[in-house]
């Protein structure tokens, strides 16, 4: 008998990722069915569009957060960075009067740059991500107010800016299917991020860093540089979120954004991504963001008292993640 034989021992069935997504999806469907039964007004085209639209900003932020969380980090600056990117778009488009495309570049560029700064704090200066991004959260919050002089910047002089999120390219091609552009952009970003994660070297290192950073380093990989790249990419995606919110509000509101990070992180975790790093999917995050949006919208449509909405949301976040744990057989 050679060593070869011993390796053919029965192997435990791989804990199915397909199955996993199915379950998060099942929670979503259950919520949708529940709300539909509870109120005839819930499952209407216009309300579904409202839910999708509501998912767009949080969904994009959550995708940005997913990348960081897979590396084993966390990003608390997401919300205020989103706002800061919106503000910079306002500066470029309204104050400088540059053409639309420069506004897009400004949002994404600001996001990437700020992500790079956070990434440098984390990778080079070894500041724990929680603190590095908590600091960034405050810095960016303050900077948005400083840059704007605490006044909103309106995009009235940039025709077409509001169409970025509100228009409907799909509705134009397929009338009767008026999916807002914001949602389209969400799905494009999701597709891009999923591609990065599953098909590229950057994605590979994202998982590797979250799994065992020291091992990555010992393998001769320039772990710091890759980590910074991931933070920058995540920042750029948050920048797209900033663009979306600016377009939806047709203005850059400098005081917005605090608290959005927790919502995004909740979506990520409900979608099955582990806060310990090394594991996660974009599809899961999308479903998580949808669950959050459906929940918020549904409770409002049912006219649940606002204070009870909060209680129920808290409870459902816990239950959703618990269901996920049960499925993985952790308890």
């Amino acid at each position: 008998m050679t060593a070869v034989d011993t390796t053919t021992a029965p192997r435990p069935s791989r804990r199915g990722t397909a199955h996993q997504k199915l379950l998060a999806f099942a929670s979503l469907i259950a919520l949708v069915i529940g709300f539909s039964l509870a109120s005839p007004n819930f499952f209407q085209v216009s309300n579904i569009m409202a839910i999708l639209q509501a998912t767009s900003v949080n969904g994009v932020l959550a995708i940005g957060a997913t990348l960081i969380i897979i590396t084993g980090g966390i990003d608390l600056s997401i919300g205020t960075l989103m706002t800061f990117c919106a503000v910079m778009t306002g500066v470029v488009l309204t104050w400088l009067g540059a053409p639309l495309i420069f506004g897009v570049v400004a949002a994404i560029g600001t996001g990437a740059l700020s992500g790079l700064v956070s990434g440098t704090f984390v990778a080079k200066m070894k500041i724990p991500p929680f603190i590095a991004t908590l600091g960034m959260m405050l810095i960016l919050k303050g900077l948005s107010l400083v840059v704007t002089g605490t006044r909103p910047i309106y995009f009235n002089d940039t025709p077409g800016f509001d169409l970025i999120s509100r228009g409907s390219l799909i509705g134009w091609v397929l009338p009767g299917f008026p999916v807002p552009n914001g949602v389209l952009i969400l799905f494009l970003v999701a597709g891009f991020a999923a591609w990065i994660l599953s098909r590229t070297v950057l994605g590979r290192y994202t998982f590797a860093l979250g799994s065992n950073e020291e091992a990555v380093r010992l393998s001769g990989v320039n772990a710091d540089a890759w980590k910074m790249a991931i933070y920058a990419l995540s920042g750029a995606i948050v920048g797209i979120g900033g663009l979306l919110i600016a377009s939806r509000l047709n203005s850059a509101q400098p005081a917005l954004g605090l608290g959005y990070e927790l919502e995004a992180i909740a979506a990520v975790v409900i979608g099955g991504t582990s806060l310990a790093g090394g594991r996660g999917t974009i599809l899961g995050t999308l479903i998580g963001a949808l669950i959050m949006a459906v929940l918020t919208n549904g409770l409002r449509v049912l006219s649940v008292a606002p204070e009870w909405q909060t209680v129920v949301t808290g409870g459902i976040i816990i239950v959703a993640v618990y269901a996920d744990q049960l499925r993985r057989g952790k308890t």
């Binding site: 008998m1 050679t2 060593a3 070869v4 011993t6 390796t7 053919t8 021992a9 029965p10 192997r11 435990p12 791989r14 098909r199 590229t200 070297v201 950057l202 994605g203 590979r204 998982f207 590797a208 979250g210 799994s211 065992n212 020291e214 091992a215 990555v216 380093r217 010992l218 393998s219 001769g220 990989v221 320039n222 090394g278 594991r279």
Partner: protein
Amino acid sequence: MRHSSLGGGAMTRLVRMEGIDKVFPGVKALDAVDFDLLAGEVHALMGENGAGKSTLMKCLSGVYQPDGGRILIDGKPVSLPTPRSAQDQGIGIIHQELALMRDLTVAQNIWIGREPRKSFGRLDEAKLNADAAAIFDGMNVKMDPRTPVSSLTIARQQMVEIAKALSYRSRVLIMDEPTAALNDTEIAELFAIIRRLRSEGVGIIYISHKMDEIRQISDRVTVMRDGTYVDTVAAADTPIERIIAMMVGREIQHSDIAIPDLSGAETALEVIDVSRGAELKNISFDLKQGEILGFAGLMGAGRTELARAIFGAEPIDRGEIRVHGKPVRIASPSDAVRKGIGYLSEDRKQFGLALGLDVRANIGLPSMGRHSDRMGRINEGKLSEVARSYIDMLRIRTPHDAQEVRLLSGGNQQKVVIAKWLLRDCDILIFDEPTRGIDVGAKAEIYRLLADLAKRGKAIIVISSELPEVLRVSHRIAVMCEGRLTGILPGGARQEEIVALATKREGKTAA
């Protein structure tokens, strides 16, 4: 005596380390150590736990920067500031502590940092897997490159580490205790690979505490003691006893086991028809007070699973466990410890130690109740005193009992785990691979210790993948294969009998 007879030959000198110093806070780990490596030789590096072997190799592989001395490669002084720079010099290493990314697949782990790419930074997953498969074929190991590493046992992970090191096609290959988790057949496969590499002119540095391996595979042996260089000798004409003497600087007493008469002894543990899924099938045995029951078997035979099941770390589907004749329900490790069962895990890093805590806290972990008063106040003085007594007894090399365990050498960490269970003083002790990574001297101490414990009436199970070890310590030997208990042999059984049972598959007899 510094220059070995081989050194002057025609073989090219790949590496030369001169006067290497390395100081850690509180520890001078290396003190002017010299070392050299020729092309096409296997150079064994020997020394007790904490002698500085791993540290020296980390200096050579760019993980640590030496505080003094110089490293020459191909005769030219080099600096190795990062692991990458060492790789670029053709130096590959298998680290003592496994360094894998658990959430990635086997192939992804092997090629990390060198992924085959297509355009736009896209990964060529097919090539990645095919290349990994080719390496395992070359190793004569069957492994699906798409398996996530998290689902592999330690031994299988070690295989991945070896494959990864081979994939670099290095000119210098460092192996820091590669066989600590392997069984005999796998070790044989590994040696075949080493011999092949040697014939191709690769220089191999080989670290192990298994003395017989040194004989089998190495050309030269360098011995270190307490961070200093002792000597380099030719393996062929130096008796093992001499090497051991150089390592430990003292005599080691061997004691042969005397199998006690246990006919009158009380039964401590009965395992009746325990089963779980495909991993454990109808396992029954009993264990008497004062008895040492060895467990042999191939990798994955289910010994660890069985131990964890008895200990309550994993559930059982069916069967009964009795302690001192009374049926007990053990739902968790804390139940088990309360019933007087202790379990020393085979994976110290993951399951055995709180690496961030100090030696004293780790030793005291299971026994806090006995070192505190009713209000939960810890009797620090008493705890420190007993911790120090175990540090002395097991010769744990640590500057003091408040040193973080993470800073100890691998073997010394293992001793801390042993100390913690000795202090807990359970009636029934299960040792899973207790001597993994432990040096010869300490091994002998531990064997003596096991015998002592048995003499004092403890019931002991020793799981080991080293047959000589099982034979050396056991009063009886249980053999497992694929989740079944295939037989129990009396102490002093022949090796062939054990191997036969270890490969006795269901429905057939051994090949």
